[in-house]
């Protein structure tokens, strides 16, 4: 387990030792190829490039009106109630719908897809996780085939017309891309939102500050990401190697404990304190190095818009004492529910 900021910084830049080829912890018997997340250089860059283009900051800005419209719709639905389960009523549908729209996935499948992702990411049972991967893979294959017959204006169609290293993408590569993008886009932003909103629910002064000056929201968002980093990727050791005073052996499994890196007192003074004015907010919540989260620009845009709309439309909100938050661990630490209350007058 790598839990220090400098150690993580170095490890993610040493893919020849800390390979992404296998990442599941505990190891699953079935770990299908999901380019480029479990690729190493030189294959990694070849597969990453089409995604970098598709998820560039500029490309994501084109989605901002859709994101805002959906956020407003979801928030307005609950505003008069004076309470909601933020996780299931807002945080889950918002990024998931945007992502499914982007990818060209059928929105009627939203509920079913979410069950599969939960089984995949939250189950401690390797067989359950393996089975979830199989189901997701089958779902993706049928959509790829449909788009091969007829293109639409969506990401799967665009990827079908992508060139990998100068030649057409293969069906297996499409399955691989879609599996990764399926998993990556569904559970992550949701939990980022929940951690942020939970913190705000406990810090009324911060809510007031951000309502008074919404221009502070991007800085607050970065500090929330640092304080509540919630993803922990895995690595497999490709060859014997000594580093950080430890003897790594080939085939050792390594957990990149990113949350610990973002709470490392060697890097961040008083790391457990949320400090909007902290001079160094440079976090690794999206990891760093070649596997930096390709969805980070989309994630930041969704988070920013969500915080803007929640703070402008919902009055001061608190945690609902009758519905305490439920969370689960795993490679992505997540929320099953997050009850909020506010004055509906």
């Amino acid at each position: 387990m790598l839990a220090g900021h400098p150690e993580l910084f170095e490890a993610v830049r040493t893919p020849e030792v800390f390979s992404s080829e296998k990442q599941g912890l505990p190891p699953t018997s079935y770990e299908p190829k999901q380019v480029p997340i479990n690729s190493d250089p030189p294959e990694h860059e070849i597969y990453r490039l089409p995604l970098s283009k598709a998820f560039s900051p500029k490309a994501m800005l084109a989605l901002q009106d859709d994101i805002r419209q959906l956020a407003v719709e979801l928030i307005e639905k609950v505003r008069q109630e004076g309470r909601c389960d933020f996780a299931t009523e807002i945080a889950e549908p918002l990024p998931v719908s945007i992502f499914m729209k982007l990818m060209g996935l059928p929105l009627e499948m939203l509920g079913e897809y979410r069950v599969w992702v939960n089984e995949l990411l939250a189950s401690g049972v390797p067989e359950v996780r393996g089975e979830a991967l199989r189901k997701i893979g089958l779902g993706m294959s049928s959509i790829i085939k449909a788009r091969m017959d007829q293109r639409r204006d969506d990401l799967i169609s665009r990827l079908l017309d992508t060139e990998i290293d100068g030649r057409a993408v293969t069906f297996e590569e499409m399955q691989s891309y879609c599996l990764l993008l399926f998993i990556a886009g569904l559970d992550t932003v949701m939990n980022g939102m929940c951690f942020g909103i939970r913190h705000l629910a406990k810090d009324k002064a911060l809510q007031a500050k951000l309502r008074a000056d919404p221009a502070l929201i991007p800085e607050a968002m970065e500090e929330l990401l640092r304080r509540y980093t919630f993803t922990m990727p895995g690595r497999i050791v490709a060859r014997d190697h000594e580093a950080f005073g430890v003897q790594f052996k080939k085939n050792d499994r390594v957990l990149l404990m990113l949350p610990a890196g973002d709470l490392d007192p060697r890097e961040f003074e008083n790391p457990l304190v949320f400090d909007l004015d902290r001079e160094n907010k440079v976090h690794i919540a999206f990891n760093s190095g070649p596997h930096r989260c390709v969805g980070s620009h989309l994630a930041r845009l969704e988070l920013k818009i969500l915080y803007q709309e929640m703070l402008s439309r919902i009055p001061t909100f608190s945690l609902d004492p009758e519905r305490p938050a439920q969370t689960h661990g795993g490679h992505v630490i997540g929320f099953d529910s997050l009850g909020l209350v506010w004055d509906r007058s």
């Binding site: 490039l49 970098s52 283009k53 998820f55 560039s56 900051p57 500029k58 991007p218 160094n280 440079v282 976090h283 690794i284 999206f286 760093s288 190095g289 070649p290 930096r292 390709v294 980070s296 620009h297």
Partner: protein
């Protein structure tokens, strides 16, 4: 003051542009679009913030008038 960027090491965080949009241009794919520049007078704090915002630490300052260049020597 100058900024020097190890351009081929950019992985596209885009934090430099987010904190100092007037100084750090990105290409259409979200990668830094310059090897570096001379910092216009008065823009030193902005240039410094942009350099420090890079999680990869590939943006160096040279002759920062504050006396401390970034990143610090290991």
């Amino acid at each position: 003051m100058k900024i020097i960027i190890d351009r081929q090491a950019c992985v596209g965080h885009a934090r430099c542009q987010a904190v100092a949009p007037d100084l750090y241009p990105l290409d259409d794919n979200g990668y830094i679009d310059t090897d570096g520049f001379t910092v216009p007078e008065g823009e030193e704090p902005s240039a410094r913030r942009g350099a420090r915002a890079c999680p990869e630490r590939i943006i160096r300052t040279v002759n920062d008038p504050s006396g401390k260049d970034w990143p610090p020597k290991a």
